[in-house]
Assembly symmetry: D2
Homo-oligomer: 334 residues x 4
C-alpha cells in the first residue's frame, strides 16, 4: 500500500519533506501540496507529479490524501492539525505543535475526543541512531537510574533575526524533548544562566545561555546553548546514572594525520547532522500510517515542550527558577 500524503506549507522544510517522501521514503507519494505562495506550491507539486491546491483545508479534504504533513509557519500549525483531526486523518506536524499552550491543549482535547492518536510532532532527534543507542543503554539499566544529563547545542552562527528567546523555542526545544524521552521523566522547573556574551554576535542577543532543568524524579539537566560558537554544529549529550555514564557519539568520520595534527571534521550544518534522522522519522511515520498506528512524539509531547519553553523564557527574563506547571501525563498518552 502506498500512503498518499498531502503537504501544507512548501517552504524550505516542506519542500525538503516532499523530496524525502518522493525520492527516499518507500511506500509513500505526495499527491497534493499547498502554500500561501501559490506559485511555490505549484512548482513544488509539479516536481513530483502532485496537484497544488489553494488551501490547507482542501488538502485535508482531498480524497487522494491519506495523511497530512504540516510544514507551514508555526502560528498556522494548530488550524491544520485540528482540521486533520476533524477529518480523522493522521497528521505529522513540524515543531512547534502550536505557538501557544492553549492551542496545544485544544489539539489534545480534539485528539482525545477522537479516541485514538492521529498526531505526530516532528522531534526528529528521537530517530537519530546515536540518541537511540544512548536510550538503549539507559533503558538497559547499564548506567543505573539517571541522575544528571549534560547537554550542549552549538551552532556556528545565526542570522540577525535570531533573538534571545529563540535560544529556547528554536534551539533548546530539541534538548527539552530529547531529555524527556531519554529519561522517561517530566521537566518541572527551569532556570537560565547568562554567561559573558561572545563578541561574535548581534548586539541584542544573549549568547551563550546555560539552561538548568529539574525533572519530576529530581534529575538535573543542564543545556549549554551557544549559537555563535564559530567552529561548527556540535551536539553533545552525556547522561550520568547511579553506576555509570553514557555519551552521545560524534558522527563517524575518518581521522586524518597531516601537518602535525590528527584531526577530523566538525559538521557545519544541522541538516548534515540529522539528515538520516529525518529520513528515518518520515519513513517510520509513513510505515505507522500504513499500519494504522501512529506512535511517534505525541500532542502531549508538543504541549509539554510548549509549557517548558514558556517557563524557560520567563526564567531567562526574570533570573528566577520557574515552574513549568506540568502535571501528570493523561492516560491517553501513556
Amino acid at each position: 500500500m502506498t500512503v498518499n500524503v498531502g503537504v501544507i506549507g512548501a517552504g524550505m522544510i516542506g519542500a525538503d519533506h516532499v523530496r524525502r517522501l518522493s525520492t527516499i521514503v518507500s511506500g509513500a507519494q505526495v499527491t497534493a501540496v499547498t502554500d500561501i505562495d501559490a506559485d511555490r506550491a505549484a512548482s513544488v507539486a509539479a516536481g513530483v507529479g502532485a496537484r497544488s491546491l489553494a488551501t490547507g483545508q482542501e488538502v485535508i479534504d482531498a480524497a487522494d490524501v491519506d495523511a497530512v504533513l504540516v510544514t507551514s509557519w508555526g502560528p498556522a500549525h494548530a488550524e491544520s492539525v485540528l482540521g486533520a483531526i476533524a477529518a480523522g486523518k493522521p497528521v505529522f506536524c513540524e515543531k512547534p505543535l502550536a505557538t501557544t499552550a492553549e492551542d496545544c491543549h485544544k489539539i489534545i482535547d480534539a485528539e482525545t475526543a477522537h479516541g485514538r492518536r492521529l498526531v505526530q510532532v516532528g522531534f526528529m532527534r528521537r530517530y537519530d541512531a546515536g540518541y537511540r543507542a544512548m536510550k538503549q543503554v539507559i533503558d538497559s539499566g547499564e548506567i543505573g537510574t539517571p541522575l544528571m544529563v549534560h547537554c550542549a547545542h552549538r551552532n556556528p552562527t545565526v542570522p540577525e533575526r535570531y533573538h534571545s528567546e529563540m535560544a529556547t523555542h528554536d534551539t533548546a526545544v530539541h534538548e527539552i524533548d530529547t531529555v524527556r524521552w531519554l529519561l522517561g521523566d517530566e521537566i518541572v522547573s527551569a532556570q537560565v544562566l547568562t554567561p559573558r556574551r561572545t563578541s561574535h554576535r548581534f548586539e541584542h542577543l544573549q549568547d551563550p545561555q546555560i539552561m538548568l532543568f529539574e525533572t519530576a524524579e529530581g534529575a538535573r539537566v543542564d543545556v549549554e546553548v551557544f549559537v555563535n560558537c564559530q567552529y561548527g554544529y556540535d551536539i553533545q549529550c552525556e547522561a550520568v546514572g547511579e553506576t555509570g555514564t553514557v555519551r552521545l557519539p560524534d558522527p563517524a568520520a575518518p581521522v586524518v594525520r597531516s601537518a602535525g595534527r590528527q584531526s577530523g571534521p566538525v559538521l557545519q550544518d544541522w541538516k548534515d547532522r540529522f539528515a538520516e534522522a529525518y529520513d528515518v522519522e518520515i519513513q517510520e511515520w509513513v510505515d505507522s500510517v500504513a499500519a494504522g498506528a501512529v506512535s511517534g512524539p505525541s500532542s502531549w509531547d508538543g504541549y509539554a515542550a510548549a509549557m517548558i519553553c514558556d517557563a524557560n523564557v520567563e526564567a531567562l527574563h526574570t533570573g528566577e527558577i520557574v515552574s513549568t506547571g506540568l502535571k501528570d501525563r493523561p492516560a491517553f498518552y501513556a
Copy 2:
C-alpha cells in the same frame, strides 16, 4: 518513474534485496522473481505482490522488467548477466561477476559490443559512508600520493564449510575491490603469509592469512584476513600517503563508562556494518537505471577481482609472489 526490477535468485541475499527494493528504496518495485526453488520464488514474490517465473530467461524477457538483479549462486551469474546484456537491460550482479576469469571476459566482450554500460557488480563497500569519506580525503590530495594501505578484515567465526581459498574469494575480495577504487590503481601481484593458526578454527583452515599486494604504481597493500577472531566483525583500513594518513572510522556508538571500563560495542555481523551501504548501493543503482546511466563497479572491476583472487589463491598454495596478469583497463571502462 518507477523502475521495475526482476530478481533472479531468491536466497538469503536475494530475499534481502527484494525487501530492500520494496520497503527502503524509493522509485523501484519488484515485479518478477525466479529461483531454482520454485516455492521459494513464489513465496518471496507473493510477499511483495510480484509474479514468480520459472526461469531467469523469463525474468529477463518479461515486459514489466526494466532491470535485472542477479543473486543466484555464483556459477549461474554469467549466464544471467549475458542474457540481460543480450536483452539490452541493465543488470546488477552480486559478486562474483562470474566464477572464472574467462566468463568475466565474455561479459566484458558482450557489454563492449553492446556499446554502453549495462552491468554493475555488487561491491557495496564503495557505498559505505566511511570509505567514501576516506576516498574524498585521498582524492583531495590532503595525504599526498598514496604509498601504502593497511587493511584488516575480521569475522567472529565462520562455519566449517569455509575453507582457506574463501579467505580470498569471499572475504579479501572486498578489500581487493575497495583498495583498487580508493587508489584508482591496479593490483599487479600477490603474496600470502600464513601466520600461526588460531586454535579457534576448523582443522582444514589456514586462519589468519596476511595478503600482500603490489599495485601498478608501486603502492603496497597488506590485508590481514582473520575470520575466527572471536571478538567481533571488525573492518580496519588505513591509507598512508606521502604527507599524511587517513583511517576508516569505526561505526559511531555511545561510549559507556561503567564498572571500571570505558567501552563501546564491536559489531558482530557484517550485515549490521554494511546495512546502510547496501541501501545506498541499491538506491543509487535504481536511480542510475532511471537516469539511463549505470556507473557503479563495472564488469572490468568484476574481472579484475577475479584475476587478483586467482593469483592470490595461487600465492597461498605456492608461497610465491604471483603476477595477476592484469593489463591496462580498456577505454570503455575508463
Copy 3:
C-alpha cells in the same frame, strides 16, 4: 645543591612526600621529620636516614632544614606556615592553606611583610600534563576568550565520614583552583544544585551536587561532584571559548577489543590519576627553592580557595546564590 627538607606531619600524604623526595625527586633530601605520633615520625625518618624531631617548630628551626613541607592535619597548617615565614624559610603547605579565611589572611600579611614569596600551596593539578596542555591551548588564543567551563569530579566511593560539605572543601576545591588558574580569572559567586541522590551513598550525604560559579569576567563554570559514581575516578574538564573548545584528555591507555567490546580502563584511584602531577609539583618546588624563587600556587590562591569554598557551602545550605566576597588580588601576588 641539595635542598634539605623538613617535614611536618608524617601521615599518609606526608609519608608519600617523604618517599617522593627521597626516591623520585632529584636535588632534595629529607633531613627532619615530625609528627604528633612520635613513633610514626621516627619510623618515617629512619626509612630515609633523617632525624625525627619533637615539634614542628624544631623542624622549622633546624639548621639542616632549608625548606619546610607541611602535611599535618588542616587545623595545624597555619601555625607551621606562619612559623616558616617567621624563620624566612620556604614552605610547601598541602591544601588547605588554613581552615579559616582569617588564618589565610594572617599568612598573606606575614608573607607580604616578609617582602617576597615563601609559601606554595599544594594544588597539584596545575602540574598535570593534561591540564597544562589545556592551559597552553587557552593561553594561545586558539579557542578565543573563555566563556564557560564544564567540569566533573567523580570518585568511585567515599567512606562514611565524608559529609556534604566535604564535596566542596575536599573535592571541588581542586576544580575551584584549577579553573581560576586556567582562566586567570576570579570566582565571585557560587550556587549549588542538589540532584536526586544516588542510592549508593550513606544517608547523610547529598551526592551528587552541581556547583555553579561565576567569575569576575562573567564566565560561567559548572562542576558536577559525584563521589559515589561507582565506576571509577573520572576527572572531566571542557573549556568553551568564543571560537572553540578544548577538553582535558583522559589518561592514555591501550584499547582492547575482546568479547564484543572495545574498551579501556577507567582509573579507580586519584593517586594513580595524579601521581605524575605530584612528582612534577614537588620537583618544581624543590627546583624553585634551589633557585631562590618560589612560584607555584600562592597564599592568595589558598585564601581565595577558602573564601570560595565558604561561599559554596553556604550556597549548599541556603539554596541561594552567594557572593564569595573576593576583591582584587594584591600586587604582591600578581
Copy 4:
C-alpha cells in the same frame, strides 16, 4: 646510597643522560665523564660537578665510579662494555650493544664467564607506559595467544646522511626489540618490501620500507618504516591474538575544536615521545644497580637485535626471506 656513574661519550645522548642523572633521577650522581673531544667532556663534567677523564678505561677504573654508562659512537661500544665487565662494574650501553654480532658474542661470553648480569642495553621502549600497559594486557591472556603484530614507525624527516640500511639499524631496531619483548618470542626470519618511494626524500634512500618478520612460534610481524612521512613522529603498534586485539595508545593530548575541525597534536620529535621512558629507564637502572641486580634488556637482547638487523638488511638487498640464525636463548639470560 647514591650510585656514582661514569659516562663514556658526552655527545648529544650522553649529555642528555648526564642531565637526566643529575636533575631527574633520584639516587645517582655523575662523577666522571670522558669523550674523544676532551673539551666537550670537560664542559659536560663541569656542568654537574664531575671530573673529566682522558679515556674510557680511566672512567671504568675510577674508584668513585660504581657503574658505567656508555654513550660513545657505536663502533666503540664493545670495548667499553668489555672493559666494564672486566672491572666487574654494571654497565648501561646505548644501542647498539656492538656493531657486529661477533662483538656481541664476545660480550655475552665475558658476562657469562663473570657469572652474573652486568650489562643493560638501552632499549627504552620497554619503559614506555603505553607499551608496558600493552604487555600487561598480552600477559594477562585477555587477547589470547598473539598471532600477529602490526607496527608503524614514522619520522617527519631524516637528514641526507640517513641511508636505507639505517631504516633497519637505527629505526626498526626499536620495533624488533619491542616485539621480541612483547611476545616473549624470537624472530627467526626477515623479508623486506619496498613500496613506491616518497618524493620527499634524498635520492639514495628507499623510504618507506615494509619489514616482515616471523617468530619461532609462528607469529607474523609487519613493520612499516617511513622516515620522511612529513606529518610527525608517529609510533603505532597493534597486537592481534586468538581472541582479541590491543593497540598502543597515542600520547594523551587535549582535543581542540575550532575552525571546523576537532584535532590534537601529533608529536614531531622522538625525544618528546619517549622522554618519560628514558627517565624511567635510567631510574630503574640506577635502582637496580643500587640493589645489585641488573634486570633490563640484556646482552642477549643486544645480540639478537644485531642478528635480526643483519638478516633484515640482507633481505632488503636480496628481496629474499632471510633466516636470522637465532638459536635458543642461553639459560644465563632466561
